[in-house]
Symmetry: C2
Subunit: 367 residues, 2 copies
DNA sequence: CTGAAAGCGCTTACAG
DNA sequence: CTGAAAGCGCTTACAG
């Protein structure tokens, strides 16, 4: 009567997992559970036997059963720049975060968001402190500010809390991040440079306009690296002249200084045929060109934010490089989940593709 | 003693689902299960009550528990062109299929692959027949051959078996496919045309070389549409001259005729500056150019197969358009899974991004 | 150091 | 038409 299930399968498919092991080892399932979870209170001999059997059986726990019964809850903290009309880039990260949030909720994993003003170092620090004061099982952040990030990193390292970097990478010695999700910024700029070189004729030159949002411009790791990659290709390898200037604006106020500077450069250097903006403020350049009815220049920049998309549609921006912010938010959290809950091995880096977007493939990219 | 769990949560989180409903309706959980699954044998009155309560509770079944206990197995059939050194494009689909396969296996879903020779209509038909003879809960296929696909479609429609198209879309009246996963071929060609237009100077022209693999060339829906999209942009909108020829080769044998034809075109039309190949056989053109030491031409084509990647690296191919074949294989099957097992709503189309790949972003794309 | 029992939320026979 | 019971593979107290 109790023998309904034939045990003639010599397969991988080991009957009923933990129960089978218990039977073969002549112990109870409680004991098996203990050794499988490395909990104390099992005789060395028993432990060894159980490990041996579970090894031979190639035992893999049934995650479904595990999640059904487990009462353990997980909470992740996500540090994320405030998405505002001035910095809409982050809305897409937010959507990715929310998708992950919805997906893991039923599985007992909760995600808390900590928003900060990306132009304010202090605001970042405050949220870092809140996170350190709380009890989180995993943390995800864009390491915008070196000092403050290192505080958090040290805290995580000492408490063995896994953390994930996204959008911007930090290659510091203390960095033991579980993974980095985002582009290789140098390569990204290099690719932009390659594309631009295709457009140019001998004698043409290029203008790079770095429009920063931080009060502390030396902190924009990504923009700096993109510019370096771009410069390497356009100037060093393709041999075109590259002009460049920086413009610093924490988001508010008029852009008259930018306009003046830009027009001045274009007047002095009529050989400029392409303008490159290594960040999402590309639309500001397009707006100035439009306002002053300047045509015949190609504009290449970053990120599919609404303002940029408008100018891409109008033909005032030629190419945008997309970093898949949605995927960054989503995959970053899922890698914490996969690591902590599913016990999966996580790659040290998940580099986002450097996607070239033109008016014509916009809709496909966004769907 | 049995009251350990406080029931003071007036939340969405409805205690224990089916049990709570049973309690509130004063019936057993068996009866609740029946109406939730729309099985017969429940009094209309009881049914209505249970439906009402479950509605008020906003009841969502716990999929984890469901899967743990359910003995129902699902089997999907995938029709996939044989991946061979001549058609390596399909290796990547295969990997996506295998990933999906591994992921759903533990959940009681099995995936069977049916491989066919993409140059042989007959081979496709044979596999279609096998699938129709079997008992499958879901089917995925690239609808390469119209007649044969329609047979399968009619079979599926009458048996209410969901089916998914991938790689190639078919917009026939009988087509009630659950979804289509792949590019919009016309737009894809149009984008290629736009990119090419950026490279050209007035007076330049373009050559389109369509290298087919089917014995029955009129069946290449994708290639035809790409060519049309390309032509529309390059010729109609940008106003460049477009030469084109077709070359038909079912995979085997020498390419001397192709070489002769290509060299002839280039000799007659020295104004040709770009060659466009609307399919993965782009490397064949690159090989001929290399062999004959022809430089200064730009080559744009499709798909990240090894041969193409080699020439991209060498600089003999300038741009490749990627269709994310891995994702096609993976997402197509997952949409069957999500539909059938998770009861999710599926979008009618999942258009793959039209990704431009150059030597410089190759590694990021592939990782 | 070890075992026996209850239970996660559901489905599946089986018995009325 | 309806209910009571067993069980999916695991974890969690609790009792020795």
């Amino acid at each position: 009567m109790s023998g309904k299930k034939n045990k003639n399968s010599s397969e991988d498919n080991s009957g009923s997992g933990i129960k089978l092991i218990a039977k073969l080892a002549s112990v109870s399932i409680g004991t098996v559970d203990r050794v499988l979870h490395n909990r104390p209170g099992v005789a060395e001999k028993t432990k060894a036997l159980i490990l041996k059997i579970s090894g031979e059986l190639n035992y893999k726990p049934n995650i479904i059963a595990r999640r059904l019964v487990s009462k353990k809850k997980y909470v992740f903290a996500v540090l994320i720049p405030a998405a505002t009309p001035d910095h809409p880039y982050w809305y897409q990260h937010l959507e990715g975060v929310d998708k992950a949030k919805a997906e893991v909720k039923e599985l007992g994993v909760y995600i808390e968001k900590f928003s900060f003003d990306q132009s304010e170092r202090k605001s970042f620090l405050n949220q870092v402190k809140k996170i350190m004061a709380g009890k989180y099982d995993g943390i995800m952040l864009p390491p915008f500010f070196l000092e403050e990030t290192n505080q958090l990193v040290r805290h995580c390292n000492s408490k063995k809390i896994p953390y994930v970097f996204y959008d911007t990478n930090l290659k510091e010695k203390e960095n033991k991040a579980l993974t980095y999700i985002g582009q290789d910024a140098f390569k990204s700029g290099y690719l932009a440079g390659k594309l631009v070189s295709y457009f140019l004729q001998p004698g043409d030159s290029v203008l790079c306009v770095s429009i920063n949002a931080l009060k502390n411009p030396d902190q924009h790791f990504n923009y700096i690296q993109r510019e370096e990659g771009f410069k390497k290709q356009v100037e060093d390898e393709a041999g075109f002249k590259l002009y460049s200037f920086e413009y610093n604006n924490p988001g508010k106020g008029d852009e008259k200084p930018l306009e003046n500077k830009l027009l001045q450069e274009l007047t002095y250097h009529p050989d400029i045929k392409v303008i490159f903006v290594p960040n999402p403020r590309t639309y500001k350049v397009a707006a100035i060109l439009e306002k002053n009815r300047i045509k015949g220049l190609k504009v290449v920049g970053y990120d599919l934010i609404d303002q940029n998309i408008d100018y891409l549609r109008k033909g005032m921006i030629d190419f945008l490089i997309s970093q898949e912010p949605f995927q960054q938010g989503y995959l970053g959290l899922m890698s914490l989940f996969n690591h902590l809950i599913l016990n999966q091995k996580i790659e040290k880096e998940k580099l986002m593709p450097i996607t070239l977007v033109m008016k014509e493939n916009l809709d496909c990219i966004m769907s």
